[in-house]
Symmetry: C2
Subunit: 190 residues, 2 copies
Amino acid sequence: MARWEPNARLRLVQAAVDLFGEQGYDSTTVTQIAERAGLTRTTFFRHFPDKREVLFAGQEEHARLLTAGVEGAPATATPLAAVAAGLDALTSSFTPEQREFAPRLQSVVAGHAELRERSAFKRIALAAALTDALRRRGVPDPTASLAADLGVRAFTTAFTQWIAPANDQSFPALARHCLTELHGAATALS
Amino acid sequence: MARWEPNARLRLVQAAVDLFGEQGYDSTTVTQIAERAGLTRTTFFRHFPDKREVLFAGQEEHARLLTAGVEGAPATATPLAAVAAGLDALTSSFTPEQREFAPRLQSVVAGHAELRERSAFKRIALAAALTDALRRRGVPDPTASLAADLGVRAFTTAFTQWIAPANDQSFPALARHCLTELHGAATALS
């Protein structure tokens, strides 16, 4: 039977980000991450397939939250309003802890080609999940994929704004604002 | 002095795609690719850093063509017209040979997580290059990044249409059509 390990997942992410920052991503092992978190390697592998995935923890959960938000929007909602509902559901799930270690996490990713590629894939995968959720509401292509692109861009732009030291706005408020701005920009294209 | 090696780059790409299809990506070595192409390992490494990059040959050239097309658009062109000029320049560069081996190349990429991530990065990198080219024309954010997203989506959608066996339209014509459709969709968002 598994021991009681409160917040094991979060402790592993924090330990990994600390160690990556202190001694570099390449030099850090799963064993070191587990030890720093006060947990075992077995517990590590219950949560993550390898050390790289610690940096992308929550990708599936993010897609699930985004999709659930879109599904929960009223049947009469426009494609953009459905995307906004998805962004609300997703951005509301972020915690102060995530905001705190996000800059260190981003700097680890920025320093490695392989991690930048993994990060790009996360964005493409989020857009694909959002496109599918919109199609299931009957939104035709290419409106569905365009609305998904706007949603993912609003998410990534708002994330950068949210983790900035001087920011005092909530992540959902920033995401809504970004989405509105992007929609405005769509009318200025030609 | 280097020997005269006509079309070395194209021969290496074709040999690699053939071998990946015949015996799998993982089992294929750089030596085998060079031998199949009738070239040396040294020649291979003059063109590509490793076997993976054979599959993404031309990424930098694609970004360069796209950017040059945007830069060549009239100063009075709208952001969308500038993107269309970039797409014209890029899609006109594709050859019948590229169309012919594209489906096999796509199936190799689809079968490997690492290659899918590399492919996602290529899309994100193209969008970033396009965004920068638009900013240099004075297009403000977020219009620049939105227009870039539309351009890259038009490129990838038109590419899929272009390589379909039944297609008889040119790549530039398909890309222009996709861009027009995406622009129309932008007005249907809300």
